[in-house]
């Protein structure tokens, strides 16, 4: 194995691979990505893989817009020999409470001001977009045709393949057991396959990122929360956009492959890094789905699984360096939208590590915002 690196990235999900690719693209040599299992084995490979520009804060809108515009051209830019299966069927986000409806009107104004082509719809107009939905359960909806879905395994692989061509080394099935710090500076990473000296470590470990922070005594105020998803058998295309509701607690989309993927949040989910499945989820998910999208009741569920949301106090990512330890960087705390932010994560993290001015103003997303109590609460999260 290589025993020296200029940058070691911990985590082989979309964030780690995107950061590695962007560093190598900027000419950084000897970048190593360490992955405990295989690429996408953590949250990336378990996510719903929807991507949307419809957010409630300016920064999230901009981060998402940047990423989606990258995904639109990712096959070409990354010179991928496969297809990341990006389908822009839009997101139809429905409101079922007055409070939500008011928020959506604000969101649309914000989104439109940033060039996001979202529109406000009546229940009847919403039903034209998803005819099999029960429009009597909603007050209004918003729709953005640029939102969509892509294959998280292939998108990550596209980044990884491009990174490998630029000289990045990937160490799969390798576990980080410690990070060496001398005189307040990172000097290396200890793994179960040996020690790697490096001045820079990037924590892109998703649900495990708090553990990684603990290795250098940096307290990252995140926790891993289990979220569950199910997938049905594939059928002919009947639903173009993602159907989503924050108040009714559901997201449900048909992938280009034909299967329906749906999930929901639950405040009672365990926070102990468990990724087991529960019957409870299956029952509640099926009930929500049958109530709101009754046509889907005859679809068979073939599989359910779980992944970890890495929740931050304000449901926003944590980007940047740790002030206490020189050379320790974080890209974590996505609170369920790390996959869709993958492209922008790679760009802004590579810029930050190289001391350049980030393309987007991520200075507000640093770890120090929690000490200063300058949280940027995101209202629109499932």
């Amino acid at each position: 194995m290589n025993n020296t690196a200029s940058v070691v990235i911990i985590g082989g999900g979309i964030s780690g691979c995107s950061i590695a690719y962007n560093l190598a693209l900027k000419g950084v040599k000897d970048v190593i990505v360490i992955e405990k299992e295989y690429l996408t084995s953590g949250s990336t490979g378990r996510c719903g893989a929807g991507v949307r520009m419809q957010w409630g804060t300016e920064l999230n809108c901009r981060l998402a817009k940047y990423s989606i515009e990258f995904y639109e051209k990712a096959n070409e830019v990354l010179q991928y020999d496969g297809d990341i299966e990006f389908k822009q069927g839009g997101y139809l986000i429905v409101a079922s409470t007055e409070k939500e409806d008011t928020q959506f009107k604000k969101n649309i104004a914000l989104q439109n001001s940033l060039g996001i082509p979202s529109v406000y719809l009546s229940p009847k107009e919403a039903k034209e977009i998803i005819p099999h939905m029960d429009e009597t359960k909603i007050i209004s909806a918003t729709f953005c045709p640029k939102d969509g879905h892509l294959n998280p395994f292939l998108a990550t692989q596209a980044y990884a393949d491009a990174a490998v061509r630029l000289g990045v080394k990937f160490m799969k099935y390798t576990t980080v057991t410690g990070i060496k710090v001398e005189n307040g500076k990172v000097t290396g990473v200890q793994t179960n396959k040996g020690f790697i000296s490096t001045p820079v470590v990037v924590n892109a470990a998703g649900g495990q990122s708090k553990l990684i922070g603990g290795m250098v005594d940096v307290d990252i105020p995140v926790y891993a929360e289990r979220h569950q998803i199910l997938v049905t058998e594939p059928v002919n295309p009947i639903q173009n956009p993602m159907f989503m509701s924050f108040s009714l607690n559901i997201y449900c989309q048909q992938t280009p492959h034909g299967s329906f993927i749906m999930g929901r949040g639950d405040a009672n989910e365990p926070r102990d890094l468990r990724v087991t499945s529960s019957w409870h989820f299956l029952e509640e998910m099926a009930q929500s789905c049958c109530e709101l999208l009754p046509l889907l009741k005859d679809l068979r569920v073939v599989r359910q699984w779980a992944g970890l949301y890495c929740m931050s106090p304000d449901r926003q990512p944590i980007y940047g360096k740790a002030d206490q330890v020189e050379g320790f960087y974080m890209a974590t705390g996505y609170s369920g939208h790390g996959f869709m932010f993958g492209p922008v994560t790679g760009v802004v993290m590579a810029e930050t590590i190289l001391g350049e001015k980030p393309s987007l103003p991520i200075d507000k997303l640093g770890l120090d915002r929690f000490e200063k109590d300058e949280l940027l609460f995101e209202p629109s999260v499932v």
């Binding site: 499945s277 299956l282 029952e283 099926a286 789905c289 009741k297 005859d298 068979r300 569920v301 359910q304």
Partner: protein, 254 residues
């Protein structure tokens, strides 16, 4: 060279092969036994007395082709599987070659197999004319193959056609072929979880009931690892596909 390669030389064979005239008359045993070992069941099993009595049990057999009628009893009695019966009178184009075959599965009469030469190289397509497997043969069945006449002195064994090809489906739900699977393994996806995620194999309605084992076998063959030492993929609920409406409580069984 027989001692080194296990393959009879032309000089060896010259002594063992009957004349063209005898071959044209009908079935005859050809004993390709060239090493002196203490062994004589060919002689003891031949009821016609075509195989000469051994003076020394280490002698190699001597056969009188004019007495031999190609009955084949010696073929299944030879522990060394060194005897075949060749019948060049079968037809103008084809000859019959009767071989001992101790592998399972036995070929099916009427099916086609691959004819192999003495080195085990495939040389022709051969039709299985007869499969004889009586108790007296003591688990050395005789397979009669129809082969091109010019190969009657070449074909000495058979193998089944390869059951799999690159186009064989490994995952029937998601339509992953063996060729595609091998390409993924070649690219470095060397655990079943990686293959599942990149190809969707095993992710369909049957949840890998067929392909899980097949992918594992292929991975084991490619990596040289034992299947028992390889990580297996996760079994996820609900195991059997269930309708959303049923889970939601809208439908009940008896």
């Amino acid at each position: 060279m027989l001692e080194k390669t296990g393959v009879a030389t032309e000089q060896d064979l010259a002594k063992a092969i009957p004349t063209k005239e005898r071959l044209a008359k009908g079935p005859v045993a050809i004993i390709e036994c060239f090493q002196r070992i203490p062994c004589n069941p060919c002689y003891t099993s031949c009821k016609r007395g075509a195989i000469k009595e051994f003076e020394d049990i280490n002698d190699t057999p001597e056969i009188n082709f004019e007495i031999c009628n190609g009955c084949g009893v010696c073929v299944s009695n030879c522990p060394g599987l060194a005897i075949v019966v060749v019948d060049e009178s079968y037809s103008n184009e084809e000859a019959l070659v009767k071989i001992p075959y101790e592998f399972l599965p036995l070929p099916v009469e009427g099916s086609f197999v691959t004819g192999l030469d003495r080195e085990g190289k495939p040389v022709c397509r051969a039709k299985v004319m007869k499969v004889l497997n009586t108790k007296a043969m003591d688990r050395t069945p005789l397979i009669t193959l129809a082969v091109p006449k010019e190969l009657s002195m070449t074909v000495r064994f058979m193998k089944h056609h390869d059951i799999y090809s690159d186009n064989t489906f490994i995952c029937r739900c998601e339509e992953l072929t063996l060729g595609e699977l091998r390409e993924l393994i070649r690219k470095g996806y060397n655990t079943i979880d990686e293959i599942r995620r990149i190809s969707r194999a095993g992710m369909g309605p049957c949840q890998g009931r067929t392909c899980r084992q097949l992918i594992m076998q292929e991975l084991a063959a490619a990596t040289g690892k034992k299947m028992s030492e390889m990580p297996i993929s996760t079994f996820r609920p609900p195991v059997k596909p269930i309708k959303l409406g049923t889970i939601a409580g809208g439908e009940r069984g008896e």
